[in-house]
């Protein structure tokens, strides 16, 4: 049986109340008030689609042996690299083997479900496990509808041929060169055509087309499904679609527009993850994506679901929140407004790729080493054991530390270090199981920290080199979820 083996979600900690956007930009484009309800999730200054995809993947793969993964797919429309496979960065962070299939899925908001379909077909053909990580961090111009509607988030689905929590039963796809939203290869901000057309001709026709196509293919009716998941940020259109499909409102999954916003490629999978948190065995789930057409997928929940309803998913991330009470901060974090960071901010940091390749396990996957002689765990990986009483040479086994967590040994909040979110918070962290390293802290304030408190590790942007358009990534310490005051 092939289907979903696990799921995970990620919503960044900062939320921007849409009234703050309106308060800042309503003078220019007053009509954005029509979308000003609720809040949207905003990636921290050190987050992007890759890091959020990893965060969701880490959530999804809790308790899963990383060595058992055979394929890693990454879906987004906001990939940091056009050449350099983004999925390999995600796979490196997740600590999978080198002998895997990896691919980027891009170009449309249905790329998340396209990746999921590919993963299902991969496992159906080869067996094993494939993980799909999707995330998006789309930008609308200041005072645009898109700026109001878009939110940042990630979601991950692991496909497996064993112990599935939801069996894959079938799919139906439609593809259209329907240009409602558009970003050229060199464009940063989303552009859209008339909203009434998008709503009436796009969402309201294509989603029913995909659902009806799937139902016709398998001899089902939309009302046979217990849970229907589709993205659509037009409230009126949602009502119409439900009416056309003759499905009851309570069976339709909440679109999280008021809490997260439309997270693009990730959004259908994010909604699926939220649905699986509460799904009951036997439920029939219909998942539909939207963007340049639609994919419709049919799943049936199994008894295994209870084992995975252990806190993974979306709720705990939604609960872990902090207000971003400053619109200008949002602009600077997203690179929408130039900001002075001083001469220090101009320091040219060249990335030396041959060095990065030699150390790629330590950098991407936080791999350390463990001494076979004395058992000491250490980071970065050492050839000579760091234990002064051992010092064995070349007796090391690699050890994946990214999911181990640790405790705060020392910390500070530094007003002098160049940062777009001062103070820069960093300190020494003791890894659970041994070893210590100095690292950045993120998603917290100095007041949140104390010596000895537990931390988790989160994959983040380390620094961006604007001269060469290089995003470097590394791990940062984050107070363990549940620990943040």
């Amino acid at each position: 049986m092939v289907g979903i083996g696990s799921f995970g979600g990620y919503v960044p900690r900062y939320r921007l109340n849409r009234m703050i956007i309106f308060g800042s930009m309503g003078w220019l484009n007053p009509v954005i008030i029509t979308n000003a309800r609720g809040e949207k999730a905003v990636a921290n200054f050190d987050e992007d689609s890759v890091t959020m995809a990893v965060a969701a993947g880490m959530d999804c793969l809790r308790g899963v042996d990383r060595q058992s993964i055979d394929a890693v797919y990454f879906a987004t429309t906001t990939a940091p690299y056009r050449e350099r496979q983004n999925a390999n960065i995600v796979a490196g962070a997740l600590g999978t083997r080198d002998e895997i299939r990896s691919a980027d899925f891009a170009g449309s908001l249905k790329s998340g479900t396209s990746a999921l379909l590919s993963a299902l077909e991969f496992v159906g053909y080869n067996g094993g496990k494939a993980v799909v990580c999707a995330a998006d961090c789309r930008l609308g111009k200041m005072a645009s509808t898109q700026e109001m509607v878009f939110g940042d988030a990630g979601a991950a689905i692991m496909v497996s041929d064993q112990d599935v929590i939801a069996e894959y039963k079938g799919s139906f796809s439609v593809s259209h060169d329907f240009v409602d939203h558009l970003r050229g290869a060199n464009t940063k901000y989303d552009r859209m055509w008339e909203e009434r057309w998008i709503r009436d001709v796009g969402y309201q026709q294509f989603i029913p087309q995909a659902v009806q196509g799937l139902c016709a293919k398998y001899g089902l009716s939309p009302s046979d499904f217990d849970r229907i998941i589709y993205p659509c940020y037009y409230g009126g259109a949602r009502k119409n679609i439900n009416k056309v499909l003759q499905v009851e409102q309570e069976k339709v999954q909440d679109d999280m527009l008021a809490t997260v916003g439309d997270s693009g490629s990730a959004h259908p999978l994010l909604m699926l993850a939220a649905a699986l948190e509460n799904a009951r065995p036997g439920e029939k789930i219909l998942l539909v994506s939207y963007g340049s057409g639609c994919d419709a997928l049919w799943f049936e929940v199994t008894d295994n679901i209870k084992k995975m309803q252990d806190g993974r998913g979306v709720s705990r991330w939604l609960a872990r929140r902090a207000d971003l009470d400053n619109y200008q901060k949002y602009l600077v974090w997203r690179g929408m407004a130039p900001a002075e960071t001083g001469i220090r901010g101009e320091t040219d940091k060249e990335t030396r790729w041959s060095l990065v390749w030699r150390e790629h396990k330590a950098i991407l996957g936080l791999w350390g080493s463990k001494c076979r002689k004395c058992g000491t765990q250490q980071y970065p990986p050492q050839r000579l054991c760091i234990n002064p009483d051992c010092q064995a040479l070349d007796e090391m086994d690699p050890v994946y530390l990214a999911d181990k967590g640790g405790t705060v040994f020392t910390y500070t909040g530094d007003m002098l270090a160049a940062s777009v979110n001062p103070p820069a918070i960093y300190g020494n962290v003791n890894f659970n199981g041994g070893g210590r390293t100095l690292m950045d802290f993120t998603d917290c304030t100095v007041e949140d920290l104390s010596v000895g408190m537990p931390v988790e590790f989160s994959f983040r942007i380390k620094f961006y080199d604007p001269k060469r358009d290089i995003t470097n990534y590394f791990w940062k310490a984050v107070p363990a979820v549940g620990e943040v005051k």
Binding site: I343, L416, A417, A424, F463
Partner: protein
């Protein structure tokens, strides 16, 4: 057991420029200023120097690499001139080169000169550089020295269960005392006494360190001419002789940064170097025998933990000693009689030699009464370069006969 260099090398003469924002002076001007004073004090000519060592840390500013800039600026007559860099201990490293050359018999008169010209960077602070290598750029935080040393305070407070308020009170006293001492010193970068209220009223720069807990960057140079006791007696018969009693350096093993045994509330290299230095100098009880100290107070918390690492204060006992005035100018062991890095200033490559300059002049009784240490016997200098988890420490002891 190696016998060390105790009493084998003496200081013949020293020089030290005014430290500060020397917009008028380049590295060459500073070097000339320090060497000129040292030669006058020594009563020799430049051609008498047989070998020289240059201490400097930041090569990007003005001076480039190697020692040819210095030899060219000073027109030294084709003698060996070697540049040494070991972070903030670079000055003491230059001094080590010169003293080892003399102690070994390789030469009779040698020069150690340190310089740093930082005020051409275009901003306050040290230039951003991959000081710990390229891999550290990719995985390490974008840290600053205050942030790194501030962590000593969080670990210290946690280890000794001292409330942060209490620890802040002790380090405030450290800063207050250095301002008091620096105010009396005409060569100090900052000559201004401040009240404890003003120190406490400053904002946080790197939690829990405030603006007055941090040292600054300065331009400056300092020089020492060392020789054998025999040469000294020939050149300066009947004059008191300041001898090198001990000089030890200890460098991190990587243990502090990666292994989990270190407590984070003190500096292992200081503990190691000072124990070796006491042994070399024949000092049994430093709290009783050391008369005065110039330590590396890059941050007030560094000075606090150094008092314990040097074995002067018992573990956990530094705050009490500090608040009781033990290290004040009129206390039992005056610490930073010249104002220290906090007020005298910190041109990195010169700082180690500047500390020796203060001990040398105190031992010779050359300072006016208001800043003189009474009847000093042993003076100790301490440099700490790098960060608490990865550093270089030097401890030197001087005595007068």
């Amino acid at each position: 057991m190696a016998e060390g260099i105790r009493d084998k090398v003496v200081i013949l003469g020293m020089g030290c420029t005014k430290f500060g924002e020397r917009w008028d002076a380049g590295s060459d001007d500073l070097l000339i200023e320090a060497l000129t004073e040292a030669l006058q004090d020594a009563g020799i000519e430049k051609k008498d120097i047989q070998a020289a060592w240059l201490g400097i840390h930041i090569d990007e500013i003005n001076i480039g690499k190697g020692a040819t800039y210095a030899s060219g600026a000073l027109h030294t007559p084709f003698i060996p001139f070697t540049r040494v860099d070991n972070f903030c201990a670079s000055g003491t490293e230059a001094f080590r080169g010169a003293t080892y050359a003399v102690a070994s018999g390789a030469c009779e008169i040698a020069l150690a000169i340190g310089v740093e010209k930082l005020k051409d960077t275009g901003y306050g602070g040290l230039p951003d550089s991959p000081a710990f290598g390229q891999e550290a750029v990719l995985i390490g935080p974008n840290a600053t020295a205050p942030g790194m040393f501030a962590q000593l305070a969080t670990a210290y407070a946690a280890k000794y269960k001292i409330p942060m308020d209490k620890l802040k009170e002790a380090i405030t006293h450290v800063s207050w005392k250095s301002h008091q001492n620096g105010a009396k010193n005409p060569r100090a970068h900052l000559r201004r006494a401040v009240t404890k209220e003003q120190i406490m009223g400053a904002p946080m720069v790197a939690y829990p360190l405030g603006l007055f807990d941090c040292c600054g960057v300065s331009d400056g140079s300092a020089a020492a001419i060392v020789c054998t006791p025999e040469v000294f007696k020939k050149l300066k018969p009947n004059e008191p002789m300041v001898k090198v009693k001990a000089l030890q350096i200890s460098v991190s093993s990587g243990e502090e940064a990666m292994f989990t045994r270190w407590d984070g509330a003190g500096i292992i290299t200081t503990q190691t170097a000072s124990r070796k230095a006491y042994e070399e100098a024949g000092i049994k009880d430093p709290r009783k025998e050391i008369s005065m100290m110039e330590v590396h107070d890059c941050f007030s918390i560094t000075e606090l933990v150094t008092m314990e690492d040097l074995g002067i204060s018992p573990p956990g006992g530094a705050p009490e000693d500090i608040l009781s005035g033990f290290f004040d100018l009129d206390g039992q062991i005056p610490c930073q009689p010249d104002g220290g890095l906090k007020c005298f200033g910190h041109p990195i490559g010169a700082s180690g030699i500047r500390m020796i300059y203060e001990m040398y002049n105190q031992l010779l009784g050359r300072w006016p009464e208001d800043r003189a240490v009474k009847n000093p016997k042993f003076g100790l200098t301490h440099n700490l370069g790098g960060v608490p988890t990865q550093n270089v420490c030097s401890v030197a002891i001087f005595g007068v006969d």
